[in-house]
Symmetry: C2
Subunit: 234 residues, 2 copies
DNA sequence: CGCCTCGTTGATCTCGATCAATGTGGGTGG
DNA sequence: CCACCCACATTGATCGAGATCAACGAGGCG
């Protein structure tokens, strides 16, 4: 399910790779790009398969997953709007990419995109910055996975999701209670944090009993005491 | 302690960033580069400080470390010869960089290096490839940190070190016993794998008692049964 | 209504951390 | 040359966080 469309009205126009391109360059990119909808749960790239496409996330959220031979899984990265997806110059995709909510991605076939990269230095430079940023994020997450306790992980995760929510909706209520919906179910949170479903659930219950958060719905979270949550996140 | 020197006799000439440059470009790079020795244990970059330099690792090994506010540490990356060090376009260094053995690095002041990057597309392209490779490595390591058991971690680590040793010395004894020295002490192995010193030590003892490895010296390892080690690594 | 997925809660177990003591090898100074 | 030291490594005993196994609850949908 792909549709042609113009870059002009792109929601992530000035945050993604394309931000620095002039109109002529953008037109070129537009020519090889397709806007593609990906349903929740759908996998658009399998680890080990040929890395045929790359692109920009327009809306929604996707996750990168690695797994051991015997099936233990770990989320090794999450892609949000304006993030870059795929792996130029690689023959096979290193990780599996799956939509965790309904999403839209602006995709390019890898070869033509690589071609464009080589012709447009600005595009390559932006990609380099994105790659470095992703590398820093990933390394920071390593510290969390290896050294933080379950309660630190869950507290940190909630703060992370809250701040993402706040920047999306640009709500200006610093310190006040924030309510938002989690795009992930318990299993997905567990995958992300290197925990089990049960541990995530117990940690959330603990935070609820301590009055730090409220859980009006199973996917809905209200942060009632951000300071306390922050101190638990360490 | 820095010395000028020529790229012509550089040990990592054709594996590092510089591999694709022509003589004129190399001369330019040479003009702003310094060969710098770093003693074992010495820190050349502190997380949060200004990211003043970047460069290529020539020999030895360095580690990137992240730590929590209360002092728990995690190695989030290791740099070997030909790896790129530093963070162009960032104002502060994201992680602390320390030499784990006596090392040599070819360093550039960040600003002039960035300048050169902008002028030489090939350099930028190589850096992009390095960054992607580092990203894949880091994400793969996340799976290990979060989901593998202590014995899987240690077995995998030994195989990793052995293969690195083999490629360095290009020894051609596939399957046969391989002997090599670890550049890391037990504490550093623990940091790398997200374990404690005691657990690493116990796992090594277990492998020794099972006859899978021999430990002729405290830093020396002989792999006696690679297949068994590989099956423990999962 | 019954089924199915997801989430919560309880009981128990296990791996690895922690605390503590002992061993070892290499370097230094008497 | 040897005795001592000190950092590093090993080994043992115990503890506890989180995994695992199991049962139950709550909403959504045919």
């Amino acid at each position: 399910m792909t549709t042609k469309s113009s870059c002009a009205d792109c929601a992530v126009r000035n945050r993604s790779l394309c931000g620095t391109l002039d109109d002529a360059e953008l037109a070129q990119l537009n020519r090889i790009g397709h806007r593609q909808r990906i349903a929740r749960g759908e996998t658009i790239m399998w680890a080990g398969d040929e890395a045929a496409i790359c692109g920009n996330v327009l809306s929604g959220a996707l996750q990168l997953t690695a797994s051991t031979d015997d099936g233990r899984e770990q989320t090794v990265g999450t892609l949000y709007p304006a993030d870059f997806l795929g792996r130029p110059y690689a023959n096979e995709a290193p990780f599996t990419v799956k939509a965790i909510v309904d999403s839209e991605v602006c995709t390019f076939a890898r070869r033509p995109f690589e071609q464009l990269l080589e012709e447009h230095v600005k595009l390559e430079r932006q990609l380099l910055r994105h790659a470095f940023a992703a590398l820093d994020d990933t390394r920071t997450q390593m510290l969390t996975l290896a050294r933080r306790s379950a309660s630190e992980k869950v507290a940190g995760f909630l703060l992370d999701m809250a701040s993402r929510e706040e920047t999306m909706t640009s709500r200006a209520t610093p310190g006040g209670p924030v309510t938002f919906d989690l795009p992930l179910n318990r299993g997905q949170i567990a995958d992300l944090l290197g925990l089990t479903i049960e541990t995530v659930s117990r940690q959330l219950t603990k935070l609820k009993l301590a009055g730090i958060v409220a859980l009006p719905g199973v996917r809905t979270v209200t942060i009632r005491d951000e300071a306390a949550l922050r101190s638990r996140a360490g």
